[in-house]
């Protein structure tokens, strides 16, 4: 757009500095990611000693072999897939129709519902009362404790509402209504097919959230066979590492057991990080456009 204008010397210097700054930021973010991939296929000996610092050294796939042999990781993976699919389906069924209703100016009570939902952003019952409620409802140690208490996020409802308001012509809806189309038909036959971008964005936002969440599983599940992947990861990546660090006074046999566990952890930790993160990271560049769109819709003035 500014092609006719020559850059001054000062501007060129500024641009060079800017490129250096951006490249630096790129390197800082990229390095740990590359390092982990390299470490996952390198001999732990070289990784631990620091000889492996960028490219793989002493290539071995033992880490991955161990990961795939580990039954708790498999169970965790399966559980996570189930929680993510069921959870995301519930998220969409709760979010989209509600957001559509709130986008309609002729919807009586729209201010009331908006205010009621919005209030929960600023004030909540807190951890223990929520826990007691889930317990009272008999959801402890079931999939429902994972998928129901996070069935909708007010933020995503607002984003979807903004989309419905700004991207679907009002005239289209009015015309359909004059033709005697019911709201249900209007929503399913006309609105939803026109709303694929927002459906994709919502499925992705919720899906990634469900895939990555660990806290509700930590407090509501006590049966290890039901643990999602993130809790299994927590045991491998955090608990064992931490106990290896600050053990303090422990007897010899515990120490020995911990050491052998720590060695296995050493071997698998990078592989397990890659295996757990790959589904999200692999689809992400293809869907980046949608994610970015989602953030932008959220920031647009209504």
């Amino acid at each position: 757009m500014l092609s006719g204008v020559k850059e001054t010397k000062r501007d060129k210097l500024f641009l060079v500095c800017n490129y250096i700054f951006v490249s630096l930021a790129l390197l800082i973010v990229l390095y740990p990611l590359v390092y982990m991939i390299s470490a996952s296929i390198s001999d732990p000996k070289y990784v631990g000693s620091g000889e492996m610092w960028l490219w793989p050294k002493g290539i071995t796939f033992d880490g991955y072999k161990r990961v795939f042999e580990n039954s708790s990781i498999w169970t965790g993976y399966r559980n996570t897939i189930v929680y993510t699919v069921v959870g995301t389906a519930i998220n969409l069924v709760v979010t989209l129709p509600a957001a559509y209703a709130l986008s309609r100016k002729d919807f009586v009570g729209r201010n009331f519902f908006t205010a009621m939902f919005m209030f929960t952003m600023f004030f909540g019952g807190g951890l223990v009362p929520t826990y007691l409620l889930i317990k009272q409802l008999g959801m402890i140690n079931t999939i429902w404790a994972i998928v129901i208490p996070s069935a909708a996020s007010i933020w995503n409802i607002i984003v979807s509402r903004t989309f419905f308001q700004s991207s679907i012509p009002r005239e289209l809806q009015e015309a359909a209504q004059i033709d005697g189309c019911t709201n249900m038909r209007l929503f399913i036959k006309i609105i939803l097919p026109l709303s694929m971008p927002i459906i994709a964005v919502m499925a992705l936002f919720y899906g990634v959230g469900n895939w990555n969440s660990y806290f509700s599983a930590l407090i509501y599940l006590n049966d290890t066979a039901k643990y999602p992947l993130q809790l299994v990861l927590r045991q491998i990546l955090v608990l064992q590492q931490m106990s290896a660090q600050g053990g303090g006074a422990i007897d010899a046999s515990t120490a020995a057991a911990m050491n052998s566990k720590a060695e296995i952890a050493e071997l698998v930790k990078y592989a397990v990080i890659i295996v757990a993160t790959v589904p999200v990271i692999v689809i992400y560049p293809f869907l980046q456009r949608y994610f970015v769109q989602g953030v932008m819709i959220g920031s647009v003035k209504g």
């Binding site: 800082i28 004030f123 407090i219 920031s299």
Partner: protein, 320 residues
């Protein structure tokens, strides 16, 4: 974000104008919309407002067999116990200092990055920078904690190797309380600064190119154009995000803290929310923990309202 405000003002006017004209007719005509909103309504009613009913146990001695309503009232006993406990000021200090530290470092960096990204010519490099810097946002908090622990482990962590390679002595990042807050804040910057640029880049893409053209004709340098065109463009977005951040000063991201906590760094890593978790769900002191949690959320809500009021007095960009 700003439509929070819009929702409150714009439609109220519209509604009151039409109010007299057959509200009932419109309700009946659109009865299906109430079915649409029902799942969300019941969800928030049960899972957000339901726990608010349970808050009363903060003023009671909750006995599981007697239930929420049947437990005896004790007034402000739990609050007093908390305020007079030896850990009260530590918890308050940790919570506030971690939040402010995070705000001081984590708030300006996405703005700087967005301004810098915006000057990069559209093309492969720009795309790659954006794709790579957004990616860590999708890493789960558990993996993030695992990465931090692995990278900073004494004798095996790569960061430790790098520091020692440069001839320094690496501190015990994971167990030294003095390092906990920096570790928390800077890992957060690594993970979310790139993603944080999106909202600012969106605002920057809305700048009228004519402004820049006029400035160039007047001989403005790139730096001057950033200073006098781009930065003012970002002020409304910055203000809104700042208000939201201030509102959560006491709601510091506790999932990551919980994962990085260990007995050795506890003195600087224990915040109100992790304390609520530990006393409530681990030690089963239901009432006491609820009282502490309530104290926390009341402060949060008050902060949000106060900050919003202050901003509204001084500029046009308030939340409501």
């Amino acid at each position: 974000m700003q439509d929070i405000k819009v929702a409150a003002t714009g439609h109220a006017r519209l509604n009151s104008r039409r109010a007299s004209k057959g509200i009932w007719k419109r309700i009946v005509q659109n009865w299906e919309l109430y079915i649409f909103i029902a799942p969300a309504f019941f969800y928030f009613l049960i899972f957000s407002y339901g726990p608010m009913y349970g808050i009363q146990i903060a003023f009671k001695n909750f006995i599981p067999t007697k239930g929420i309503t049947g437990s005896p009232w004790v007034g402000f006993d739990h609050f007093e116990r908390f305020f007079h406990s030896y850990y009260f000021w530590d918890l308050l200090w940790n919570t506030l200092s971690i939040s402010l530290y995070e705000l001081a470092i984590g708030f300006p960096i996405p703005i700087l990055l967005a301004l810098a990204f915006n000057e990069v010519r559209t093309g492969f490099f720009k795309k790659m920078v954006q794709t790579v810097t957004y990616a860590p946002h999708f890493i789960s908090v558990v993996v993030m904690a695992g990465m931090i622990i692995t990278f900073l482990s004494p004798s095996t962590g790569i960061v430790v190797h790098i520091i020692e390679g440069l001839g320094f002595n690496a501190p015990d990042f994971l167990t030294d309380p003095r390092w906990f807050k920096s570790m928390y804040v800077f890992s957060g910057v690594w993970q979310s600064a790139g993603w944080g640029t999106i909202i600012y880049l969106a605002a920057l893409s809305g700048v009228d190119p004519g402004l820049h053209e006029a400035a160039i004709i007047d001989g403005a340098s790139r730096f001057q154009r950033i200073r006098h065109i781009n930065i003012p463009t970002l002020i409304p977005t910055m203000t809104i995000l700042l208000i939201l951040n201030m509102g959560s000063l006491f709601g510091v991201g506790f999932e990551k803290i919980l994962l990085l906590q260990n007995p050795l760094n506890m003195e600087s890593s224990d915040v109100i929310s992790t304390f609520v978790y530990r006393s409530g769900l681990v030690d089963a002191q239901y009432s006491f923990s609820t009282a502490v949690g309530l104290f926390n959320s009341v402060i949060n809500a008050v902060l949000l309202v106060v900050v919003n009021q202050v901003v509204r007095r001084t500029s046009e960009n308030s939340l409501w």
